[in-house]
Amino acid sequence: MRDLPGGATLSVRVAQDAPIPLDAQIECAAGELLALVGPSGSGKTTILRCIAGLVYPSDGRIVCGGETWLDTRAKLCLPPQRRAVGIVFQDYALFPHMTAIENVMAAMAHVPAAMRAKRAQELLALVHLPGLENRRPTQLSGGQQQRVALARALARDPKVLLLDEPFSAVDQVTRRRLQRELALLRRAIRVPIVLVTHDLEEAALLADSMCILHHGRTLQTAPPAELMARPASPLVARLIDLRNVFDGRIERHAPGTGTTWISWQGHVLEAPYRPEFGEGTSVSWVIPAASVILHRRDRPSRGERENPVAGTVVEMFALGETATVLIRVAGTDDAVLSLSVPTHVARRNGLDISVPVRVSLLKDAIHLMPRS
């Protein structure tokens, strides 16, 4: 089998005011999967279309592997035909009058005619679609259509692979399987891959780095774990669905113990040392739900001295094996902490609405951000 395309970094800067405001900058190295994440209308798909050459932003520069595809200042703009992009559209956009293999071969104008059929077979095998070469798109399931679309995108030997919500049109089981296949396939593809998705879980699962978009602006780009632990702003924290975002004030710094003390709702909490925030400054802070630890009633432990907070359960719901518990902090009206505990732990501790509980906020998980 011939080598799959390998390439170099994709670097994109696009800006415009209308029709969809954009002010975005992304970089994606060869072999890296960058997820563009944001709510509907945040401009994710538009950025993807800018890269493909289907949309021309009023200002911008797109360079892929040393080749400039767009440079508005130099009045340079290559049409989609001259940009080596492989794109999987949201609803796949297969050519309905062609069979699976014809769809793949249609993107092979650059391959000698005699080699196209063999190469297309190889690609269909790569995406796990053998034996269905001669079916039309209407005779294929959603998952099979997605595979044909992926094979067609790779058929062009692209320098960048663009995936526009490629898993949104299939059922949950198929989605999981296709996601797993993509994760495996990535090892064979050494080009930048840009994935557009509104599914945070999907992005965290597949991406090397996530780029958070809001109203066309790129707010933060970081590896998923880093992004979840250290969002750049309260807005980013909210966009990635972190619930425990609060406002507090810097009390004092203790460099010796690596601690910054913050006051919040009558509590003084220990947080990791962050001298860049001056004493007395208002800050926002966030803690992942998984780092809010429930104190066991039957067996107190030493960890309970770490930022203890008392409250009452105001809401609780179990989704499978994990229960999400909302606790109103004692002495406040609206400070609500969200924590996740295994359902059996919630049951054993007798958690229920109105039950008083105590929790610890793990110091190292508290992340301070500039106040919005």
């Binding site: 492989g86 559209f89 956009a93 309905p96 104008a109 062009r156």
Partner: protein
């Protein structure tokens, strides 16, 4: 049975299709996919022959083609014979009054192609021209056939405009529809009946094929 009238009608219908369908494709693509100022006005003009009495259209064409009009004058100077009461004039008139039949089905067919499919063609490296041949045309094919058949059948049956612009010159402008009227006027009901039956058969065949094609469409198109 006036065979020369039938042949003339078939020639006129074939010529109209041959000229109008390529023009229809040219006009229908931007109408289907682009937005521009005055699009509604252009679409209204295209549809106008559907509602205009044929005699009204015929009258204006007669005036426009006549030797006193700039168009008629220029044509006569260039070609050496007048535009009115000739086959060429009839063909031009036929093209004009068939504009809605030749453009609208093609426009609808292009509109039915999802924009992402065309974009996928470009992103697969196909030039605009190649995408047109490989993707757009095969997908719009049923619309093209509809337009051709409707134009053909409508030309065979047109009476008012033909009479106004072409008159009734045997072998030059006497189409089968005119010949039927002519035979009825001469109380030759046998010939009129035979020609009517031929026209009925042809028309039914044409319309039938359009509907059969339309019913087959979802299977190959969806």
């Amino acid at each position: 049975m006036d065979w020369s009238a039938l042949i003339l009608s078939l020639q006129l219908a074939g010529g109209t299709v041959a000229v109008l369908i390529p023009l229809g494709i040219l006009a229908a693509r931007p109408l289907a996919w682009r937005r521009f100022a005055g699009k509604g006005l252009i679409e209204a003009l295209i549809a106008l022959p559907l509602v205009l009495p044929p005699t009204v259209l015929g009258y204006y064409l007669l005036v426009a083609f006549g030797g006193n009009s700039p168009l008629g004058e220029v044509y006569e100077k260039l070609v050496g014979r007048p535009l009115v009461f000739t086959f060429e004039g009839l063909l031009l008139a036929s093209i004009l009054f068939n504009v809605p039949f030749g453009i609208q089905p093609i426009q609808r067919a292009f509109e039915a192609i999802p924009p992402a499919v065309r974009e996928a063609a470009w992103c697969s490296g196909m030039s605009v021209w190649r995408a047109f041949w490989r993707v757009e045309l095969p997908l719009a094919w049923p619309g093209l056939v509809s337009a051709a058949v409707l134009t053909f059948a409508h030309t065979l049956g047109e009476f008012g405009v033909v009479l106004m612009v072409g008159g009734n010159i045997p072998g030059e402008t006497r189409t089968i529809a005119i010949a039927i009227y002519d035979r009825v006027q001469a109380f030759d009901t046998d010939a009129a009946g035979l020609m009517s039956a031929v026209l009925l058969g042809l028309s039914f065949l044409a319309i039938g094929s359009v509907y059969i094609l339309a019913n087959r469409r979802p299977a190959s198109h969806a």
